[in-house]
């Protein structure tokens, strides 16, 4: 591909190549050093470097856009859209997950507060099984389950000799990846002096 600049063109149509950095700057220097009588030189090698082998924008045969240019532009726009959509989805999932986590944490803490308000003698497996998930939790997490378990550990260590009861409250709800989410809190209840 050969492009020419000629002095037989009308003066107002003469346009020196734009000066700038890199290859454009070299073109400008070539323009100044070229033959003043004809002002003709070949820039095909520089233009092919600049255009990565595609047709030059100065070519008189250029009409419209090459298919590869359209594909490249659409690919860039599509990649941008896809990344934005992924960000939106990830943010929505993060927001939902943090809402669910907060609701589960409050539910577990409320269950432990209720256990703290119960008498030591009332802490039996039957009574603890009555503690179930509140309507607020099931409204936000429809498949969530609250499970409160009692664990007596007599004689294992010095602390257990005092008759402590270990109570664990746990909220579980199913996750998309199969492994259920769990939020749990464990507390220990000691008998009053009168009950020892």
């Amino acid at each position: 591909m050969i492009s020419s600049y000629r002095t037989d063109m009308p003066k107002y149509k003469r346009r020196p190549p734009a000066s700038g950095q890199g290859a454009q700057h070299m073109l400008a220097r070539l323009w100044s050093k070229s033959d003043a009588s004809t002002r003709r030189f070949r820039v095909s090698s520089f233009e092919s470097v600049l255009n990565f082998g595609f047709r030059s924008s100065n070519s008189p045969n250029r009409r419209g856009l090459a298919i590869i240019e359209v594909v490249a532009a659409l690919s860039l726009v599509g990649a941008g859209l896809l990344m934005t959509a992924q960000i939106l989805v990830a943010c929505a999932q993060h927001r939902l997950a943090s809402d669910q986590l907060l609701a589960a944490q409050l539910e577990v803490a409320n269950a432990q507060e209720r256990i703290a308000a119960m008498r030591y003698s009332d802490l039996t497996p039957d009574n603890l099984e009555r503690i179930c998930a509140s309507e607020r939790l099931t409204a936000g997490l429809p498949d969530a389950q609250l499970h409160v378990s009692l664990k007596d550990a007599p004689g294992q260590n010095s602390a257990s000799k005092s008759g402590q009861k270990q109570i664990r409250a746990e909220v579980t709800w199913p996750a998309e990846d199969g492994e259920p989410h769990r939020v749990g809190l464990t507390s220990w209840k000691f008998p009053d002096e009168a009950q020892r």
């Binding site: 008189p60 803490a109 703290a116």
Partner: protein, 188 residues
């Protein structure tokens, strides 16, 4: 012949090309601007949401600490339009903690001893939030041996009205800190 070719040499763009390119460039730039604005909005919403969750968690922790340390609790419901209820906790050493929702949807916690303000904190809630307080012994089986105080936060979801709202409940048992201290003294 050469002269004719040179006159036919393409210089500049036709009007049709410009009319095609300028709207396409406008569309591309507009699309990029919309994408950037959307990403910026998402970042803002996510940061605000995280801050809200953080504030609610801190409020729950502080409320529970105060209720655990309190000897008694009361609710002041002033009569009149637009007046918001206050929740009072009587602590040791003559201190009193007050919880109240202000007009900017922030829960204000004020710790006083007499007329002297010892501490003041503010916990931001989502816009259009409403809070209610409850004190007493819930009717559960088995019956509870201590009173409980509850702070219930209601706030609308994305729509802005309460047709779809979320409700968070923070329960706390009164006087557990005092009981723990008594238990520790018994062990000594």
């Amino acid at each position: 012949m050469k002269s004719a070719q040179s006159h036919r040499a393409r210089r500049g763009y036709t009007l049709v090309e410009l009319m095609m390119v300028i709207p396409l460039m406008s569309l591309t730039i507009g699309g990029a601007a919309v994408l950037l604005h959307g990403a910026w909005r998402v970042e803002q919403v996510m940061r605000y949401h995280d801050e809200t969750i953080n504030h609610i968690t801190q409020l729950a922790d502080q409320f529970r600490r105060d209720v655990h340390a309190a000897n008694s609790a009361s609710i002041d419901k002033p009569s009149g339009e637009g007046k918001l209820p206050s929740f009072f906790l009587s602590l040791n050493d003559g201190r009193q903690a007050q919880y109240q929702l202000d007009n900017f949807f922030c829960v204000e916690r004020t710790m006083r001893r007499g007329d002297v303000v010892l501490a003041h904190e503010s916990f931001a809630l989502p816009p259009k939030s409403a809070i209610t307080f409850e004190v007493g012994r819930p009717n559960t089986q088995p019956t509870l041996s201590k009173d409980q105080a509850s702070l219930i936060i209601s706030y609308p979801l994305a729509g802005g009205d309460f047709s779809s709202s979320r409700e968070l409940r923070i329960d706390a048992t009164l006087g557990t800190t005092r009981d723990e201290a008594r238990l520790q003294e018994g062990h000594k």
